[in-house]
Subunit: 146 residues, 2 copies
Amino acid sequence: MALATKKIPSAKLRSAAFKRVRADHSAELAGDYVEMIADLIDERGEARCTDIAMRLGVANATVVKTLKRLQTAELITQEPYRAIFLTVEGWKMAEDGRRKHAIVEKFLLALGVSQETARIDSEGIEHHVSTETLRAMGKFLARNGG
Amino acid sequence: MALATKKIPSAKLRSAAFKRVRADHSAELAGDYVEMIADLIDERGEARCTDIAMRLGVANATVVKTLKRLQTAELITQEPYRAIFLTVEGWKMAEDGRRKHAIVEKFLLALGVSQETARIDSEGIEHHVSTETLRAMGKFLARNGG
DNA sequence: TTGAAAGTTTAGCATAGGCTAAGTTATATG
DNA sequence: CATATAACTTAGCCTATGCTAAACTTTCAA
């Protein structure tokens, strides 16, 4: 196995990036949910299952199931057949997400893409942007009238 | 249900972004695999299970299972206990991914982040960047000596 | 006040993508 | 050339995230 045994020194380094991506993904859904719940509470006074499902474009039952996980993670609280509330932790995560989201979206606009694209792409990108990159985007915005 | 019935006109528009993110995610893994297989073939002449597993940071069995899906999707071909090959379609996807990846990574570097961060963040970001945003990044690179 | 509509939950299914443990094949070398 | 080791595969488990269909609550309005 001469060929197969040759060590790849950077393998561990490489794998770190993919591990981060996988970790990002599992955190992503929770982030999207709490951010959306926060928006709904601010916009309409309360967050309901149906509205979340509609905005996310998934079935009601899917939302219910996910909310159970968020409750276990102590990000939300809810009583059967009642509106959904965020815990302190939940609000913190929502605010964090909003801040990040806003920077990425404004950044894309400043880069010259259309509003529609900025809105859509920022949704996917926001969860994969490190603090360092976020700071670089911030600086760019400061220089380019964000 | 006065409150709950109030229509949210932008709900469909909003949900489109999340739908794209979910679609991106299911395409993402396939993209990472074929890109990595292409790299291995170029670097070492062949792609083997173990190397993919090591670079991705997952167990061997996980790779095997995923490769089955890629075979069903006609992106790769393989015989039991032998190396993995890309189909024409697989090569196309790999090239596409590499091109995208390179632009995003160079873009992040040009934006001023460290090499390490550019490498890691680009891995997560590349799959969520639309053609329009990619073009904007390219333009930025042209202006800023990419 | 009661029934229909709207909203919520439960049950049951599917797929993706992880894992470990155990078995099978290939190969390098003594 | 026999065998130890490395590589690969299979089996079986788990969780996350989607779905539909059916059951249950709430609430509005006749």
